[in-house]
Symmetry: C2
Subunit: 336 residues, 2 copies
């Protein structure tokens, strides 16, 4: 694809709903004049676009926690951008802001929905990853549901992903044993060597239950669920009395037309397990808390993170497919 | 069966493990001399024996929250009894006590495990039902997990059972809409007319989901689970955002050799549902709280309850089968 001209606004709109994995053909690249802001609005030029598993849900017309993207609408997604025009006193051209949403080179936002990053000390892309929505998801899930204690064991699926990698490091900071589940030896090695996990189970393992039992000799007190399917079944089998399960996502089934059956829930009674779903936006105050808490850790290198950066807005559909198939490594962002 | 002699201790010991519904043949009636207490012990003569769904779990060698009853052991169960001999200063002959456990006419207990009911104002059988373990189960589940608020809807399965009937009445006291699920028109009528439920769904209904939706026009905020199976599936389908599910029991599968699959848990993320298992003995302080709170309600008639009383220890297995098949009506006790 040729480089996009910079004097137009380019955007990817939904052309048709994927029935399985999303591909480029499900989106249409549109080019329009760069918009101007209405009263209280701000126009940003997108620098980084975040690509996250939840986006698959927005492509479906299945009822979910947020409305679907409609055919012909610009696909949604968090961005970091530079203000190029403002009709609100709180923003001026040149400001850097996070919060504008959309797969587009330029976005119009209400000023109130943006957070200014002027003087940001960490790399801008981290405000979409370790310091952004995925990092806050890990933080809120652990703080509000998981509540790991010293000496407990925390297990997390998609352990090298944007959320899972923070979950494991928060477990270690709480004095707990951190065990990851990831796809492949490379990711498992990274989890242990770079993220500080005590152990990591390759989910391509034939006997996942036995591998989890080996990695968690004291059982599992907190399970942070990002994947679902057979990983969930194996993880649930290792839960201890009074275990907490943070239901954050089930990416394994995001492309499925029909959801498979789940676990018989008798174990929740026998073991007094708590299984609780979360959405990061339910506790918006956690965003500022986390940025304040974790920015020093990013700066001093004590909170590790990894990103996969793809260049070009037009490659966003491919980036999403990678995230949904586990083909990425760490937080996925598109440099627009 | 002839009347049991009163100068011996009679007990029902487990003879073989039932593979489905427990029957009399799985137990053996034994007669021994009446025991004498060792230091710190008390011997009670059983007045009432409680029959509860959890007992099915004790008959199985499947791992559960409490150890199984072994072959040749006396079957377990709560009782109210009269002290006939005591080797502990806190109890004297003639005292009435709750807490001795076993399907037997006479029981030896550590004094510390008994609670004295001298001067009890409510009928003695209520200390096994509405004021006892089932009542405390309802109270603790609602207080510690369900937390119903005024205007919300509380749905409970086995609504006329010992636990469910208290759940519904606690829902009403919290200002919530109380909806029951019960088996048959008689029980549903009783739930509405005597227990004060706003609506009650007959689970023999073909389209249970539609019936629940009709009875819960605002959806379900708290679901108190006693049954499982298709009732659970239908109830889960009606849950609102941020609903709480108290996993108390799943009596529908207690006789099953293999547990059926359960619900796909994607909805817990989409709706941020909390599903939490409970065991009443995890919060022993709730027993005294509940007796203090609810005794006046029992005495003034504002907390309704219903009991099925069966005469004769030898009929305890049949009573248990009735509880497991829904053949009882309200709290099941055996008058020993």
């Amino acid at each position: 694809m040729t480089k996009l001209s910079t004097d137009l606004r380019h955007s990817l709109v939904l052309k048709s709903r994927p029935s399985g994995m999303p591909e480029a053909k499900h989106f249409e690249l549109k080019s329009d004049p760069i918009p101007t802001p209405g009263p209280g609005q701000v126009v940003t030029r997108t620098i980084f676009l975040s690509i996250d598993p939840y986006m698959r849900g927005r492509l479906s017309d299945r009822k979910n926690y947020a409305p679907s993207v409609q055919i012909g609408e610009v696909m949604t997604g968090e961005t970091v951008g530079e203000v190029i025009a403002s009709a609100d006193p709180k923003f001026a051209p040149g400001d850097i802001a996070v919060g504008a949403r959309g797969w587009a080179t330029h976005l119009v936002s209400e000023a109130a929905s943006l957070h200014k990053l002027n003087g940001a000390l960490a790399p801008l892309s981290t405000y979409l990853g370790v310091l952004g929505m995925p990092g806050v998801t890990a933080y809120s899930g652990m703080k509000d549901i998981g509540e790991p204690k010293a000496g407990e064991t925390v297990l997390v699926s998609a352990a090298t992903g944007a959320v899972g990698s923070v979950v494991g490091q928060l477990a270690k900071r709480a004095g707990a044993r951190a065990v990851g589940i990831a796809g492949g030896a490379d990711k498992c090695l990274f989890a242990q060597e770079q993220l500080g996990f005590d152990a990591c189970v390759d989910h391509r393992n034939d006997d996942l239950s036995a591998a989890i039992a080996d990695a968690c000799p004291g059982g599992v007190d907190v399970y942070f669920e990002n994947v679902g399917g057979r990983i969930q079944a194996a993880a649930f089998g290792a839960l201890n009395l009074f275990a907490r399960v943070i239901m954050c996502g089930m990416v394994a089934q995001y492309n499925a037309a029909e959801f498979p059956a789940g676990p018989n829930l008798g174990f929740t009674v026998a073991k007094r397990v708590k299984i609780q779903g979360m959405l990061v936006f339910d506790k918006p105050e956690r965003f500022a808390e986390w940025r304040e808490l974790a920015t020093p850790w990013v700066l001093d290198g004590s909170l590790a993170y990894r990103e996969t950066v793809i260049d070009g807005l037009e490659n966003a559909p491919e980036a999403l497919a990678m995230v949904l198939s586990g083909g990425n490594f760490g937080k996925m962002v598109v440099r627009v």
